[in-house]
């Protein structure tokens, strides 16, 4: 398939692929096994300007958009979803500043994101607020020229590793969903610490921790947009980043197909390569067709967003939903095709299958994506009446 990428987009893809092949594939099993954060790889990604990719030129970036970001994320995900998550979460954490930050905030924070000096994290989820984000209990109180943060965020990707954290906290409980606000918190701010690093089923190269705020004082200039905008910022951020999660699904699915087919063509049973069995052939055909369909959807939605679309919640939810459901099915089938070898750590398929599972859960579980899509459909149907 040719997606009519520009010469520049192909250059970006090739560069991401080079990083995947030269820097990620040789160490991915070790990172997974040892729960080890991929610091050297993040340095390579920074050196290659891939953090600059999604930052506007005015702030030291290259001003590229969703499609380019999806292309990079897809290539990294082919090699290791843990690494891709680390990279993509930095973009996720940056969106609140990109979308709603003031000129001063952009000038202050974005150049370091572009250079790779600052990794970023996005902190919304708490122990009692997962799918229902409105249940968050972390508070931010204005005292003079400072906001004082108290509370604990849970399962935050890049926790402990990031320099910058965009945090959603309650500023006015009485206002319900309009009572939350978004803030930028820098690592090292007194009163801001990290809980233990989670021991996960997959994406083990990525760091997931609690963020603990205990009378953490930040300058009031670190409020993003206005008080009360917290959930709107969070939702727009997730709308913008979800297509990228779809791209992660496409990447890991393709990675699993590539691994399993190169294994299968050499695996001989009953005197012939297992690729000569129609049952196996049809599995491959379905895996590739679904992955290609997911890729086409992800790229289309990314292009739609990049065209300047205002409302793309439904579209990006569909890209996330489909891309990630496909990835779970395809990685599972890849293990099946490889048989016992697929189940062994000597081959990357089992890791890909473990890794893929998170995609159906984070950045809004797929049930929630279905809610978003259906609600928008119903709303549209009602309006049309």
């Amino acid at each position: 398939m040719d997606y009519l990428l520009t010469e520049e987009q192909i250059m970006i893809r090739d560069l991401a692929r080079q990083i995947a092949v030269e820097k990620i594939v040789p160490v991915r099993a070790e990172l997974d096994e040892q729960n080890k954060f991929p610091r050297d790889i993040m340095k390579s990604i920074a050196q290659a300007d891939l953090y600059a990719l999604f930052i506007p030129e005015a702030y030291g970036g290259l001003g590229k958009k969703s499609l380019e970001l999806c292309i990079v994320v897809e290539e990294l995900s082919k090699a290791c979803l843990g690494v891709a998550t680390t990279y993509a979460s930095s973009a996720l954490g940056t969106y609140p500043i990109l979308l709603y930050g003031s000129e001063e905030q952009k000038k202050k924070f974005l150049p370091d994101v572009a250079s790779g000096k600052s990794l970023v994290a996005f902190g919304l989820t708490e122990a009692n607020a997962g799918s229902d984000a409105s249940g968050i209990q972390t508070t931010a109180k204005l005292e003079g020229n400072e906001y004082v943060l108290n509370g604990t965020k849970q399962w935050i990707t890049n926790g402990g590793e990031a320099e910058l954290y965009t945090i959603i906290a309650i500023t006015d409980k009485s206002k319900g969903p309009r009572g939350a606000s978004a803030f930028i918190v820098e690592k090292g701010t007194p009163g801001f610490t990290f809980g233990k690093k989670e021991n996960k089923m997959g994406i083990r190269a990525s760091s997931t921790t609690e963020l603990i705020f205990n009378n953490c004082r930040i300058p009031k200039e670190n409020l993003i947009s206005k008080q009360g905008m917290g959930f709107i910022i969070a939702m727009k951020t997730l709308d913008s980043s979800r297509t990228g999660v779809g791209a992660m699904g496409v990447g890991v699915a393709q990675g699993a197909i590539d691994e399993s087919i190169s294994f299968a063509k050499n695996r001989v049973q009953f005197g012939q390569p297992i690729t000569s069995f129609q049952a196996i052939q049809h599995m491959f055909a379905d895996m590739q067709t679904q992955t290609e369909a997911a890729r086409a959807l992800v790229y289309s939605v990314a292009r739609f967003i990049d065209s300047g679309a205002k409302d793309f919640s439904r579209a990006s939810a569909m890209a996330k939903l489909f891309g990630t459901d496909v990835s779970m099915k395809v990685t599972t089938d890849a293990v099946q095709i490889m048989g016992g070898s697929g189940y062994m750590k000597e081959y990357p398929a089992e890791k890909m299958m473990r890794d893929a599972k998170i995609l159906q859960i984070f950045e809004g579980a797929n049930q929630i994506q279905r809610n978003v899509i259906a609600l928008d459909m119903v709303r549209e149907a009602t309006r049309a009446k």
């Binding site: 520049e8 250059m11 970006i12 560069l15 080079q18 990083i19 030269e22 820097k23 390579s44 050196q47 290659a48 300007d49 891939l50 600059a52 990719l53 290259l62």
Partner: protein
């Protein structure tokens, strides 16, 4: 610190096959790459620049298509490139190559350090580095695996030896060749790739570098190729591991089994 890196474009030998009848390389359709050792040279130059400031210039002698190697160098971050390309350079052996390179380096002028690869993976002589240094009249240190310190007009570095390493101090400017232990080369940057894409390189001719026409190309090459042949393949080898005692026991058993002891 101004650094010149010598970069050679070579066929990707991992893709090259040998014609068993003529004993020559089958180069058709084989992609060209930067000599792998030269990627370490570029990386080290970039790291020195990051530490000490200055400028990195990549130089190559080769046919017009060698510009691709220079573009790759730019995508990795070198500031400037020089392509020495002229029909008169064709057929150069290592001596004539080194002469042309040394003349090119003289024309660039202001430099503190020249870095070359240990050897090229096609020619494999490891002669160009030392010869070029000699022609420039500057010190030469081979097989650098670590640059410890650069201070003023002095550099301290570790030279890899068969057993261990030497610590060598040299005055600058100097020419060094590097081994793969020295660093892990970076991947290109996007900005670099974009710059490389639009890069126009004007080649320097023999006249441009004031080269003596009797010292370049085939005419300037004293080497006579009598016969080219691939080394005979090594026999079966086995590397023993474990404690010394285990290895000795294992070896003794093997030798006995073959009635050698």
């Amino acid at each position: 610190m101004n650094i010149i890196v010598l970069v050679k474009q070579v066929p990707d030998t991992s893709e090259v096959k040998i014609n068993r009848e003529t004993n020559t390389l089958i180069r058709d359709g084989v992609p060209s790459i930067i000599n792998p050792y030269d990627r370490y040279a570029i990386e080290e130059a970039l790291r020195l620049r990051e530490k000490h400031g200055g400028k990195v210039t990549a130089v190559t002698m080769g046919p017009p298509q060698a510009v691709e190697a220079l573009k790759e160098a730019v995508s990795l971050g070198v500031d400037d490139v020089v392509l020495l390309s002229d029909r008169a350079f064709a057929g150069a052996d290592t001596w004539a190559t080194s002469y042309a390179l040394s003349q090119g380096i003289r024309k660039i002028g202001d430099f503190d350090l020249v870095i070359a690869g240990k050897q090229a993976i096609d020619g494999d002589t490891a002669q160009v580095g030392p010869e070029t240094a000699d022609m420039l009249g500057i010190p030469f240190v081979a097989y650098i695996r670590k640059i410890e310190q650069v201070e003023g007009k002095k550099m301290v570095a570790e030279r890899l030896m068969d057993e261990g390493y030497d610590v060598v101090e040299t005055s600058l400017p100097a020419l060094i060749t590097v081994v793969k232990e020295i660093n892990e080369p970076r991947v290109p940057s996007l900005k670099g790739k974009m710059k490389a894409k639009s890069l126009k390189v004007a080649a320097w001719s023999a006249a441009d570098i004031g080269a003596d026409e009797n010292k370049i190309g085939l005419r300037g090459s004293p080497t006579q190729v009598v016969r080219i042949f691939p080394p005979s393949p090594r026999g079966q080898r086995e590397i023993l591991s474990g404690s010394v005692e285990e290895q000795v026991a294992h070896l003794a058993k093997k030798l006995k089994a073959q009635s050698l002891i």
